[in-house]
Structure formats: structure tokens, C-alpha cells
């Protein structure tokens, strides 16, 4: 073991396995300095009018063509876009960084609604793997079922599936809320780091395996707990929050939240209290 008495502060921290990095990079200054807020510009965003509505039939389009057309429509000010005939295509509705009402009349394939920040999306079908991956803000509602890795690495927003979802829901999530009306598969909340997952039905094996932080609420049976996942007391404020969320999510409004189980991380991890950049943005 390193001799902690004879090393400088910086190397001492490093010897203990920690770091003393201060986030002072250009990105931090540009996006999170309140003095520069008036100069803030979010590349790739548009001012849209929710009352300006149009349809887009993507039956004969590739995913790239469809996404370009959505971008073009937003640049024209359309704030409500209805996508017809998505027919399970992959990667539709990705990279939308502004407010938008986006409605899919059908099902999506893999990686739908990826890397979005702000849109309100409704999918009147099912979604494949990795829906809404990296969602920063907004609301995504899926009327039917969803595949695995639902809401992987989301940092904010509400992600709602009224049906059942596959394995690894909320894997690596760093914020936001995922709400599942049906059942969820194995490894739900795997390595989740922040945020909340609500499952009204049953959940598979290894729930919350290796979770750092965050909270999982389960209404049904749990297949098994993963490493580091433990039960916690369901408080009155938890129940109030659950009722509010389920109402907003248009799902399980009459569900008896008092009987839900609350699962949290059993270990407190070192050096894990720094705010995420999105949380800093919210604080400003």
C-alpha cells in the first residue's frame, strides 16, 4: 500500500483510488455558466409550432431518409408530426433535440427515439431493442410491448411502456423515470446509477444487479435480486410520488401503490455524489 504520509495531496488521492478532477472544461463553461445563458445555442434545434401539424408516410423510405424528413419538417416549424407506416423500421425518430409532438402510427424496430432531448413521443405499437436510449428529456409513451434494453442509459424524461418489456430495462440509466405497465425481463435496472423504474407487473431474475444508486418500485413478483440490490421502506412520499407519476403516465391510476416493493442499492459507492451535467443544468 502507498505511504500516504509522504505524498502530495493529489497523489495521495490517487493512491486511494480517487481523483481530484474539477470539471472546468470548455463544455462546462459553455453550457453551464449562467452568465453565458443569453448566448446559449443548442445546435440542431428548431422553434416549432405545436398547432402546425402534418403527416409523413415512411413506408418507402429508409430510416435515414425518414429522419431527414422529420428534421426538414421541424425546420419548417411543424410541431406535430404523425408518422405513418413505420412497419418496424430501425432507428426512427432519433436525435430530436427540441420540443415536438411526434406520433408513430405503428411499431418501431431497434434504436427508436434514440438520443433525444425534449420531444413528446407516442408510439401506437411496439418498439424493438434499445428504445429511447440516452433520452435526456421529454416523454415517450409506447402503447404495446417493448424489447430489451428499454431506456438504456437515459438521463432524464419519462419513458412509459403500457405493455411488457424485455431484459435489461434501464440498464446504466443515469436519471429520469421508466414506467412499465406489464412485466419486465431479467437484469432490470442492471448497473443503474440514478433515476427511478416503476414496474406494475412481475420482474425477472437479477433485479437491480450491480446498481449504484436509484430506486426501483415493483408491483408484482420479483424473480430474484441482483448483487447489491436490497429492499427499502416504501415511504408516504414515495407513494404520493408513485400515484402522481402513474397518473401522468396514463397508466395504473387505480393501482394500489402501498403494496409495491421498493428496491435500492445496498452499497454506498465511493466518490459518487457529483452531479451529472444535466442535473447541473437543471440547478441553473
Amino acid at each position: 500500500m502507498a505511504n500516504l504520509k509522504n505524498v502530495t495531496k493529489k497523489t495521495k488521492a490517487q493512491a486511494m483510488g480517487m481523483h481530484t478532477e474539477v470539471l472546468t472544461g470548455r463544455t462546462q463553461q459553455k453550457f453551464f455558466n449562467p452568465d453565458e445563458a443569453e448566448n446559449f445555442y443548442y445546435f440542431g434545434t428548431y422553434d416549432v409550432d405545436f398547432n402546425k401539424r402534418t403527416d409523413l408516410d415512411v413506408k418507402d423510405m429508409s430510416a435515414a431518409e425518414a429522419n431527414k424528413e422529420i428534421d426538414h419538417l421541424m425546420s419548417q416549424g411543424f410541431g406535430s408530426i404523425v408518422i405513418k407506416n413505420p412497419q418496424g423500421k430501425h432507428s426512427l425518430g432519433v436525435g430530436i433535440l427540441n420540443k415536438l409532438n411526434l406520433i408513430f402510427e405503428g411499431s418501431l424496430g431497434y434504436f427508436g427515439i434514440g438520443s433525444c432531448d425534449g420531444p413528446i413521443v407516442r408510439i401506437n405499437g411496439r418498439v424493438g431493442w434499445s428504445c429511447a436510449e440516452n433520452l435526456m428529456a421529454g416523454k415517450v409513451v409506447i402503447e404495446k410491448n417493448a424489447g430489451s434494453c428499454f431506456g438504456a442509459a437515459i438521463r432524464g424524461g419519462d419513458l412509459i411502456c403500457k405493455g411488457s418489456v424485455g431484459a435489461r430495462t434501464g440498464i446504466d440509466m443515469k436519471g429520469g423515470t421508466i414506467i412499465i405497465g406489464g412485466d419486465a425481463g431479467a437484469f432490470t435496472g442492471f448497473m443503474m446509477q440514478r433515476g427511478r423504474i416503476i414496474i406494475l407487473g412481475n420482474v425477472g431474475i437479477n433485479l437491480g444487479d450491480s446498481m449504484y444508486d436509484g430506486t426501483i418500485f415493483v408491483g408484482g413478483e420479483i424473480g430474484s435480486y441482483g448483487s447489491d440490490a436490497v429492499d427499502a421502506e416504501l415511504t408516504k412520499s414515495d407513494q404520493d410520488w408513485l400515484k402522481r407519476k402513474l397518473k401522468v403516465a396514463e397508466i395504473g391510476e387505480n393501482f394500489d401503490v402501498s403494496k409495491m416493493k421498493k428496491i435500492v442499492a445496498g452499497k454506498k459507492l465511493w466518490n459518487y455524489d457529483n452531479l451529472e451535467p444535466t442535473e447541473k443544468k437543471g440547478a441553473i
Partner: protein, 314 residues
């Protein structure tokens, strides 16, 4: 990566060759080194249909060594001779390609182990399938190329499974292509997407029991594993359930028999599968777009959960 697809019509027949071609072609971005079909056609059930190859396709990026066509002719003659020796009568013979043949055979014995061992003792000869309904057709290229090459779009039957392959751990050749026949079981075939990590342990154990392996493709193990379980008296579903603990790794696989189609997903659900189920049709594939190729209208589909095994009858 690889893509798999399967469908079963319940209570009726359909153009399963054409339908499976559409499903596999929709998955071609998951791999088009080779494509294979296991088609369960409508037959009178009297004769065996033996699909076999006497050589490899050495074009289109194949990892096989070129051989003269005269070598194929010589092997075919020996096959014919061995069939005669074993009392198997060739009722109909088709040579679709120089290296690929289809025989209809009258053969009375039920145990095909001895039969298969005899035929495959000829170097370069491999039985792709043996059954009274099953026909395995596999070759290099995407689904459309293979379908056109073997005229599969007109095949009428009840069910089918198929595979679009991206070669990763074994060669680009027909012997490594899926589906695999459940040697030596009549009418059993398997396709698989995933990776098995206890392949060699299982292979050694099965080889000690007399089972044969033609490739080093881990997917072949599943077919032989299930065939061996069924040979020991297990039902298809029982064998599949045992495979969840007997096979280590990540996998989704389909297995088909003369009158049924099954799927199994590993306990970590690491490999994709989307499933559509109605009273008269079950269709499934690695991605929803495979199902959409035959059912473009809005339908309800779902992902089976971890460790799930399902079997449907025609």
C-alpha cells in the same frame, strides 16, 4: 451477428419457401455470408428425402478449396453404391447444382445413425438433411440468391426455419451454414443466433456417444444435443428445457420437427427475438422487420423472456 426466422401455419399449408425468403431477406443486414432454409413441405410421407452435398461452393468468398467436378461425380457414384448396399432404393434423383443433390429414397429402417455414418464415411460427402418432410437447403449468399438458385419460392408446406449468417467463428462454407440437421434424427433441424461457451466439452461428450460433427460451428452442437436427448427418450420440449442449463453462453435458437416448431432463449436473454402468435400462424425472427415482410399490417408482437421455451404444433 446472424439473423434467424421461423414460421408455422396451424391447420393449413402455405408457400413457406416464399414467405421465409422474404423474412430472411429482411434480415440480410445481419449477415449474408450464407443463408439456409429448413422447409417442411407437403409430402405423402412414404419416402425419405435426403438432401446432401458432395462438395462445397467455392465461389462468392468461400473459404473452401476448389475441387474438380469429376471428384463430385465420383463421390456421387459411391453414395449410390452405398445406398444400394444398405437396401435403400432411389425413387427420384435431382442434381440441382454440381455439388448439391436431392434424393427421394425408399428406406425401411427407422434408425438413421448407421445409414448416416455409412454415407458420410465418404470424404467430402455430407447429408444436409434426412426426413420425410424436412429439406435443408443452404448455400452462400443472401436469402434471395439461395432461394432463386434452388427454386424455393414454390415450396408449399406447413412450417419452416431459416438463418442469415455472418460468419464469425467458422468458415464461409456450406458445412458451417445453418440450419443444421438434428443428426441422426429424421426431420429435426435447428437454427441459432448466439455463441456457446461450453462447445468443446459438450462436443466431446456427444462424440463419445457416437454423434458426429461436420463443422466447428457451435450451432451444430444444439442440433446434435437435442437429437441425443430425444434419442434418450426426452420429448422435444423436455430436451429444449434441459438445454437451458446444459448449454452455456448466449443464444436464441429455433428447432423444428415434422409437426412442430419450438424456440428457446438463454437465461440472460442476451440475443433478440420478436414473436407474433395467432390462432393460425406463429412467426418469429431476430427483428420485427422479418415478421413485417409477411404481415405488413399492424400486429401485436412481443419479446419472449429469459429462459423461455415454447413449442407449437401444426
Amino acid at each position: 451477428m446472424c439473423g434467424i426466422a421461423g414460421l408455422i401455419h396451424r391447420g393449413k399449408s402455405s408457400k413457406v419457401g416464399y414467405e421465409l425468403q422474404g423474412m430472411l431477406q429482411a434480415l440480410k443486414h445481419r449477415g449474408e455470408d450464407s443463408t439456409g432454409y429448413a422447409l417442411y413441405g407437403d409430402t405423402d410421407g412414404k419416402n425419405f428425402i435426403m438432401r446432401f452435398k458432395v462438395g462445397e461452393n467455392v465461389g462468392e468468398g468461400s473459404s473452401s478449396v476448389a475441387e474438380d467436378v469429376s471428384v463430385y461425380d465420383e463421390r456421387k457414384k459411391i453414395v449410390d453404391s452405398y445406398l444400394s448396399d444398405m437396401g435403400a432404393k432411389i425413387v427420384k434423383e435431382e442434381r440441382i447444382l454440381p455439388y448439391s443433390l436431392r434424393y427421394e429414397i425408399q428406406y425401411e429402417k427407422k434408425d438413421l445413425l448407421e445409414f448416416s455414418q455409412k454415407i458420410e464415411s465418404i470424404p467430402g460427402v455430407e447429408i444436409l438433411s434426412m426426413g420425410k418432410s424436412l429439406e435443408v437447403i443452404k448455400d452462400l449468399g443472401n436469402a434471395k440468391i439461395v432461394c432463386d438458385r434452388y427454386n424455393l419460392d414454390k415450396v408449399v408446406g406447413t412450417h419452416a426455419i431459416g438463418h442469415a449468417r455472418m460468419a464469425t467463428e467458422s468458415g464461409v462454407d456450406i458445412k458451417s451454414a445453418h440450419p443444421f440437421w438434428g443428426y441422426p434424427f429424421s426431420d429435426v433441424s435447428v437454427v441459432h443466433n448466439g455463441q456457446l461457451t461450453n462447445y468443446w466439452n459438450n462436443r466431446r461428450a456427444l462424440e463419445n456417444k457416437g454423434m458426429r460433427f461436420m463443422s466447428e460451428c457451435d450451432s451444430e452442437l444444439i442440433a446434435v444435443y437435442l437429437a441425443e436427448k430425444m434419442r434418450d427418450g426426452a420429448s422435444l420440449e423436455e430436451g429444449m428445457k434441459e438445454s437451458l442449463s446444459g448449454l452455456d453462453g448466449v443464444f436464441t435458437y429455433f428447432v423444428a420437427t415434422k409437426d412442430s416448431l419450438g424456440m428457446a432463449k438463454d437465461t440472460m436473454a442476451a440475443k433478440p427475438l420478436v414473436l407474433y402468435e395467432s390462432d393460425d400462424l406463429v412467426a418469429m425472427g431476430s427483428e420485427e422487420i422479418a415478421i413485417r415482410s409477411i404481415l405488413p399490417q399492424e400486429i401485436d408482437t412481443y419479446d419472449p423472456f429469459d429462459g423461455e421455451v415454447k413449442v407449437w404444433q401444426i
